[in-house]
Symmetry: C2
Subunit: 140 residues, 2 copies
DNA sequence: AAATAAATTTGTAATAATTACAATTTTAAA
DNA sequence: TTTAAAATTGTAATTATTACAAATTTATTT
């Protein structure tokens, strides 16, 4: 069952060390768009030899190689997403949870960039209130 | 000429103090999507009594009241935009400059949110290389 | 105008995310 | 087995942001 993960890492030119497999597996199994800290805190008990710096290093590598996406939908921390299929995200302004939205919510057409510009990536972030938090919209 | 600014602040329920006028004016005149630090560094010489905390406070107030937009297009710092007309942004991955794009590059349709969700804002960030930086795409 | 209250601003200290980096450990190659 | 390369660690440094109490400014009331 690790094979899938190892293959994925190799496909993106990442040599599959134990820690890298652990982080990648975590991201595959937890579709919560976790922060560095969440990943570290959750993995550390079972992998006591894991340091937070390694989590940072590993995520940087995975993102650089395109095996993982990073999101700036949360002003405080970078969020990581092991799902690199084209989709977008919704973040609840009250509880902070991040939800996946289908690819349909991404602009279909390329933006009209000034001539000579080249587009590499498009990020679409939706924010609002999720089902559980709607009643408690903060007083203005 | 300050009248425009004062009126704008009042329209958004911000009492126009000297510092607030200065920050708002700066954002109106500098379409560079500056950071807190840029604003503070540029204004401080002419307004020596201005503190960085006040710039933070003021921007928080302006954003909360809807008189200014904040962007998370830059992983490092929050960027501020005095232009609240609907438009989107492109950030050059090499030089870091942020360019305005017309509103047309924003998804026209509401995303298909899960039922019971309410949408408050949509952020669209494009990233790539600007005209001046295209030749120097980093080696992979 | 003086006294009082409210709002604004300041400056410093605390918090927290991230990066730098040298030392150590692990893995691969000769 | 020795040597070299890669991966990981742990600590320290950096940096953006927030907390907060004190000081200042502005508005209100007497």
């Amino acid at each position: 069952m690790n094979n899938k993960i190892i293959e994925h890492l190799c496909n993106y030119g990442v040599k599959p060390s134990l820690h890298r497999i652990a982080v990648m597996t975590y991201l595959m199994e937890h579709k919560t768009h976790p922060t560095v800290d969440m990943i570290y805190t959750d993995l550390n008990p079972s992998i006591p030899t894991l340091s937070k710096t390694t989590v940072y290093n590993t995520l940087k590598l995975l993102v650089d190689q395109g095996a993982v996406n990073s999101l700036n939908i949360d002003e405080k921390n970078v969020r990581y997403d092991g799902d690199i299929f084209r989709h977008s995200h919704f973040r609840c302004k009250s509880c902070g949870k991040i939800f996946d939205l289908p690819a349909g919510s991404i602009p279909a057409l390329e933006p009209s960039l000034p001539s000579g510009f080249s587009l590499v990536e498009t990020q679409v972030y939706y924010k609002g209130y999720c089902k559980d938090c709607i009643p408690e919209i903060p007083a203005s």
